[in-house]
């Protein structure tokens, strides 16, 4: 089963780290990602730029309002996404508990919505098919 892991990080802590410390931390994360890859658990992921770079679209009076910043202002910012393949929720918890990123801030684990993803995959296939 597919799980989407949302890694949050405290930006102040990140800023307070030296370049060397950041590199060492990233390296540890990459090494663990590799271990997940080798065992077929790492399906994909995306690292995100800071929330300062974000823009939020919000429906308002029948129009779309554009505002700066993330949807929710919290001390911890969403830093990246990891797509994980695991047997069940306990397995996902076990795998992500060992991720170095989990020592840096909260990690939210969400089961992927497989019913909707199935529909997405079908649409994807249809468009690709029509483009030949």
């Amino acid at each position: 089963m597919r799980f989407v892991c949302l890694g949050y990080a405290d930006l102040n802590r990140w800023e307070s780290m030296t370049e060397g410390e950041r590199e060492a931390f990233m390296e540890k994360c990459f090494a663990y990602d590799d271990e997940l890859r080798r065992n077929g658990h790492f399906v994909g992921g995306e690292a995100l730029q800071g929330a300062d770079q974000a823009v939020t679209l919000r429906p308002r009076d029948g129009r779309i309002d554009v505002t700066d910043g993330p949807f929710a202002e919290t001390k911890e910012q969403l830093g990246g996404l990891l797509f994980l393949e695991a047997r069940d929720l306990d397995h996902a918890i076990e795998l992500m508990s060992k991720h170095p990123g989990a020592t840096f801030g909260p990690f939210e684990i969400r089961p992927a919505n497989e019913a909707i993803n199935q529909l997405l995959a079908e649409r994807d296939k249809a468009i690709r098919g029509s483009q030949g």
């Binding site: 089963m1 047997r87 069940d88 929720l89 306990d90 397995h91 918890i93 076990e94 089961p111």
Partner: protein
């Protein structure tokens, strides 16, 4: 059926009343365990519940004719499983959803006859750990445990928690949906996860107990049932998993329970431990609790529940408040603070220090906690402070602190107690 044809006689006739009594008893003793195993075999809580009821309905009909089988539990599991397959077939005919078909049991017949005690015990634990999974909100864990593990009805849970039935029903439905959709596995946690996961189970049981023990409002009888349900659950868990902290929690509940009648007056007013009529304490429960504390302590792997139970056991040993082994209690609080530092434990320790030494010594400790900014909104901190001021002869300060406690207190029996104390100060 006539009474002169008792079950099992050559006539081949079975006494219906006997069979019904036996089924009632099997239902009480076994239904939740049969249910736990059915969930594993069927893979769905709701379908397992339906199958359980169909199995018992079938038992009433069939056992009247054929007598009670040698292994009723295995019979019920086997019958329940077939009933579930029937239900799935019926649903398929009417166009079942993907989710329902997914929950179809394996087509191979599991060897039900080979299901032994160990399998049933494992399934029972699976059910407990799944209902208390930390991915579920705590109040959902509580509702699910009472509904699925203890077999209480939604109405009974709602009445006990003074909550609308719809609220409890919604929690149960959402909890089961999360177990299914987030794929919370139906299994006993691995050895490395066990301590953490057990914490979650223990806190659910203790929450249920306290809900029944803190007679804040509502029907006392129903709330007392909640405490006995928690104690029963503690006994079941101890039987399945003889861990020192399970012993500790059960001991703690038994020792609290031993004082139930002494801790309130007939009018529902609170009686402080030191003022309780110790003749009302239930010595049988105390003996059980004490024995469990000793077993847990002897293991050397005990935790906070055992320490709290040990403190409670020291009180239970004492003929009066003044004859209590206060040095021992302070020592146990010291250990508790190491195991789980908390301002509330510090407060309790301060009160014990006041009893061991003098009120001023405890007062100094409480003032330090409050000066730090902790427990300022905690009514009991001010009540404890007031009590120590009163004993130290600081009447004006005691009065102010009781007023502070009263302003923060939400519980009616506690408010009445504080008002009484204020009145006594004049």
């Amino acid at each position: 059926m006539q009474a002169e044809h008792p079950a099992g006689e050559d006539s081949g006739q079975v006494d219906t009343a006997d069979v019904h009594r036996a089924i009632d008893e099997i239902y009480r003793e076994e239904s939740r365990r049969v249910f736990a195993t059915l969930i594993r075999l069927i893979g769905d809580f709701d379908l397992a519940e339906e199958a359980l009821h169909e199995a018992f309905t079938a038992a009433v009909e069939q056992w009247e004719e054929e007598g009670i089988p040698a292994n009723p539990r295995a019979w019920l599991v086997s019958t329940g499983r077939f009933k579930a397959i029937d239900v799935i077939r019926r649903r398929k005919t009417f166009g079942a959803s993907v989710a329902e078909i997914r929950s179809q049991p394996a087509s191979t017949q599991p060897d039900i006859e080979k299901l032994d005690e160990a399998h049933f015990r494992d399934d029972h634990l699976r059910l407990i750990f799944t209902c208390c999974h930390p991915a579920l909100p705590p109040n959902t864990q509580v509702a699910l445990t009472l509904r699925e593990v203890c077999g209480l009805t939604t109405e009974e849970i709602a009445t006990a928690f003074l909550a609308p039935k719809s609220t409890i029903a919604q929690r149960i439905v959402r909890g089961k949906a999360k177990i299914r959709d987030a794929k919370i596995p139906y299994r006993v946690p691995s050895r490395s996860d066990l301590p953490n996961r057990l914490d979650s189970v223990l806190s659910v049981i203790y929450l249920v107990f306290n809900e029944g023990y803190s007679a804040s409002s509502g029907d006392d009888a129903i709330r007392a049932d909640l405490s006995s349900e928690a104690i029963h659950l503690g006994r079941v868990l101890l039987d399945l998993l003889p861990d020192p902290e399970v012993m500790g929690l059960l001991a703690l509940m038994l020792l609290h329970e031993s004082r139930r009648t002494a801790r309130t007056t007939a009018d529902g007013d609170l009686v402080l431990l030191e003022d309780q009529d110790r003749g009302l304490w239930d010595q049988d429960l105390i003996a059980q609790g004490r024995q469990l504390v000793e077993r847990a302590m002897a293991s050397g792997r005990f935790g906070t529940y055992t320490l709290q139970a040990a403190i409670s056991a020291v009180h239970a040993n004492a003929a009066s408040a003044s004859q209590t082994d206060w040095p021992q209690i302070v020592w146990l609080y010291d250990m508790l603070l190491v195991a789980e530092p908390s301002a509330v434990v510090e407060l309790n320790r301060a009160v014990a220090v006041a009893m061991r030494d003098k009120p001023e010594a405890g007062l100094e400790l409480i003032d330090a906690i409050l000066a730090r900014g902790d427990l300022r909104d905690y009514s009991l901190a001010h009540a404890a402070r007031a009590e120590l001021c009163r004993r130290a002869g600081l009447t004006a300060e005691a009065r102010a602190a009781f007023r502070e406690a009263l302003a923060l207190s939400m519980q009616e029996p506690q408010r009445r107690f504080l008002k009484r104390r204020l009145g006594q100060l004049g």
